[in-house]
């Protein structure tokens, strides 16, 4: 099985990861020569380029996924399961993967492809089985159905697949990033290299790119989770480059990439989480340092109502026990309600079902229409094309393209994401 979250041991080599569990041994000692030959042969046969002696922590996400695929092929499995494999691939790599899957099927292997991306399902699958909330809904032949029908099966009602939005009317610059460089934690180089761009009121700018090209560090630099080596960050006219996270967040809301690591304190109840960034304000803390629990509860109840956050015990629910979708809704509720001129949303719909995605997209558009500047980071091509007013493509730490979603095709976007094409973005573009 190729897992959605790779099951690889970071400090082992590619070869060790592939043979783990089915190692060849002689009196208990590892024999890697035969294995190495087999891996190289498989790699060439299926066009899956890997370096057997590289450590997983040093290679790209793409190569990591190829390692996962080789793990399956090495074991001569007849049933291959691909769990959400395309999140980390460029459009071209997705094409190649689709082709590999079709070839494997032709060889007689059975392929189980798990995905929520309707266009991919339509392209590569023969039959589709839909599950909703753990229940079997139905199986259809791909030839007999379409995307709208599939989404209706998935959610139980008609879902608006394409977002309705009026054209953007951007005003003043809210976020101005100048020549920002952020060091990489894993390697010796910089993850973000001399990046400059801006975001205005009333527009949604989306940072597109393959996972691992510096988007995470870019956001960390802007929000303060990582220090910036060089450059300036200006929010609403104020230079926040050297300010603490709390100081710079006065006008910035941040929906983080990892909701469990950054977005919530899972052991805290929902109401404590709702005031995670505001608990210190006079509204929630008295002068003597005591928490105003009633005020906190009231605020939390309001947000739960307004944003339809579902939980077993309301404001008392321990966040850990909530579903991923509702955890994300809680974070969205909190960040939207906090005072802000800039909304930073990183992969806000990751891991959510189509209904929740629709809800959050609406919230983001509403935020933009209310005059906020929205900086969106997304790995989902559809989301990027649908939501953004302006696309900035990141490749290996640099912005390699500034694109208008109305004027380019997915294929072209893919080329930029793969680093095959660039146009220099300039601040004077408007």
């Amino acid at each position: 099985m190729v897992h959605q979250h790779f099951k690889l041991v970071q400090c082992f080599t590619v070869l060790d990861n592939i043979i783990l569990g089915v190692e060849e041994t002689k009196h208990g000692f590892l024999e890697k020569d035969e294995a190495r030959k087999k891996v190289v042969a498989l790699s060439e046969k299926y066009g899956l380029k890997v370096d057997p002696d590289a450590l997983i922590q040093d290679i790209t996400v793409g190569m990591q996924q190829r390692t996962e695929i080789l793990k399956m092929l090495y074991r001569d499995n007849d049933i291959l399961i691909f769990d959400e494999p395309t999140a980390v691939l460029t459009p071209q790599e997705i094409e190649e993967l689709m082709q590999i899957m079709k070839n494997l099927a032709k060889e007689g292997k059975s392929i189980l492809f798990i995905s929520h991306k309707l266009n991919e399902i339509m392209e590569v699958a023969d039959r589709v089985t839909v599950l909703r909330r753990g229940k079997y809904i139905g199986t259809v032949n791909v030839a007999d159905t379409n995307e709208n029908e599939l989404s209706r099966m998935m959610v139980g009602r008609d879902v608006q697949l394409v977002v309705d939005k009026t054209p953007a009317q951007p005003k003043d610059i809210v976020l101005d990033v100048e020549n920002m460089t952020v060091a990489s934690k894993l390697h010796n180089n910089n993850a973000v290299k001399h990046v400059s761009f801006n975001v205005r009121q009333g527009e949604i700018v989306c940072i597109a790119g393959i996972d691992g090209n510096g988007q995470t560090e870019l956001i960390y630099g802007i929000t303060g989770l990582e220090p910036v080596k060089e450059g300036k960050i200006i929010i609403d006219g104020k230079d926040v480059t050297n300010l603490s996270i709390r100081e710079r967040s006065a006008e910035m809301s941040h929906i983080p990439e990892d909701r469990q690591k950054h977005g919530l304190i899972l052991e805290y109840p929902l109401d404590y989480n709702m005031v995670l960034e505001r608990y210190w304000q006079p509204e929630f803390t008295s002068k003597g340092g005591f928490l105003k629990k009633d005020a906190i509860r009231k605020y939390s109840d309001e947000l739960i109502e307004k944003y339809d956050v579902r939980s077993s015990q309301g404001s008392d629910t321990i966040a850990r026990s909530m579903s991923g979708g509702n955890q994300q809704k809680a974070i969205v509720a909190r960040e939207m309600s906090k005072e802000h001129k800039l909304l930073v949303a990183v992969q806000p719909t990751r891991g959510l079902d189509v209904g929740a995605i629709e809800f959050i997209h609406h919230q983001i558009i509403a935020s933009r229409d209310a005059g906020d500047a929205v900086l969106l980071v997304s790995l989902e091509l559809e989301e990027v094309m649908n939501l953004s007013d302006r696309i900035l493509v990141m490749y290996e730490g640099e912005i390699v393209g500034e694109l208008d979603p109305k004027k380019i095709t997915t294929e072209e976007l893919g080329l930029y994401m793969a680093g095959a094409k660039r146009n220099t973005s300039s601040k004077e573009a408007e």
Binding site: H3, V9, F12, F29
Partner: protein, 312 residues
């Protein structure tokens, strides 16, 4: 000088053995803070063996002592394994409990043994003067202890087991990414039990070596005077790798040895530093070393996190 070298090597042997024990356990993903307790139990086992089954044959005596010591150590480590692996208890807490328990149990047992042989003997000391002599071989004035060889052999063996065998690969996988190991069919629970039992084995062995280092009797009330934790510091400084653990052990062993023999060095005696300072030295050195090496520590990624099949 000879004495210093002797003490250094024997203390280094203890530190290596116990550090390797901690290493195996942590490589499998279980933090073993109960090494102090395991050492005490191993020491108890060995001391009891020497007293209950005395022999004049060196080989028999060594074998008996070692076997009983490691068995005691392994049985005691079951407490850690069961609590932390099967019941997912907090590993730090259980380890601490085992340390307290170990010293208390050993004290109670020794007291009872002493009192049963002589109702007036209420001490917590066991002696093994004659038996200890069997462990020593005198070569050119250097008092050479069989345990030093045992420690060296185990050090080398550990390197091979961890990095060259299938068992070692799988063990390390369980400590780095147990979900990955489970996904290829490895039984993480079994692997972690192995890791902890091995640490019980090595810890118990280290315990008996410790109480025999340079003395012929041991007052069990004091436990092992923090040596278990010094071994953990050695393990961290050695970055969980046997060859580096050996070097770290020599370093720490040297300082510990110094506190035993500094009076023999004229220039040190002349400095008139109080003996307490020498006692403190190994611990101070550990702190300093840890302060500099912990920042970029390459600990096994999944250590300390109880493994739950259900989590992704």
């Amino acid at each position: 000088m000879m004495l210093l070298a002797q003490y250094t090597i024997i203390f280094a042997s203890v530190l290596s053995l116990v550090a390797l024990g901690g290493c195996f356990s942590e490589h499998s993903g279980v933090i073993n803070l109960g090494l102090e307790g395991i050492m005490v139990m191993g020491a108890l086992g060995g001391a009891v063996a020497m007293n209950l089954f005395p022999s004049t044959n060196a080989f028999v005596m060594i074998l008996t002592t070692v076997v009983v010591a490691v068995i005691f150590g392994m049985i005691y480590s079951v407490l850690l394994a069961f609590a932390c692996i099967n019941l997912k208890a907090d590993q730090t807490l259980i380890g601490t409990a085992m340390n307290m328990l170990g010293t208390a149990v050993a004290t109670v047992v020794v007291r009872s043994i002493n009192t049963s042989t002589d109702p007036n003997n209420v001490s917590t000391t066991l002696q093994y003067v004659d038996q200890k002599k069997l462990f020593l071989v005198n070569i050119n004035g250097f008092e050479f202890n069989w345990f030093m060889i045992i420690a060296l052999v185990i050090l080398v063996a550990s390197y091979f087991v961890l990095y060259k065998t299938r068992f070692g690969l799988r063990l390390r996988a369980c400590g780095e990414n147990p979900q990955a190991a489970a996904s290829v069919g490895i039984n993480v629970y079994k692997m972690r039990w192995s890791g902890v039992l091995i640490s019980g084995f090595l810890g118990g062995l280290g315990g008996i070596v410790y109480i025999m280092a340079g003395v012929s009797e041991w007052k069990f009330e004091v436990g092992v005077a923090g040596f278990g934790f010094l071994s953990l510091a050695v393990m961290i400084f050695g970055q969980w790798k046997p060859h580096r653990i050996a070097l770290a052990a020599l370093l720490f062993g040297f300082f510990r040895a110094l506190s035993n023999v500094y009076t023999g060095f004229d220039f040190l005696a002349a400095l008139n530093i109080p003996s307490q300072f020498y006692n403190m030295l190994p611990y101070i050195i550990s702190l300093v070393v840890l302060a500099f090496t912990s920042k970029n520590s390459a600990a096994p990624k999944a250590e300390g996190i109880p493994y739950d099949k259900g989590t992704r």
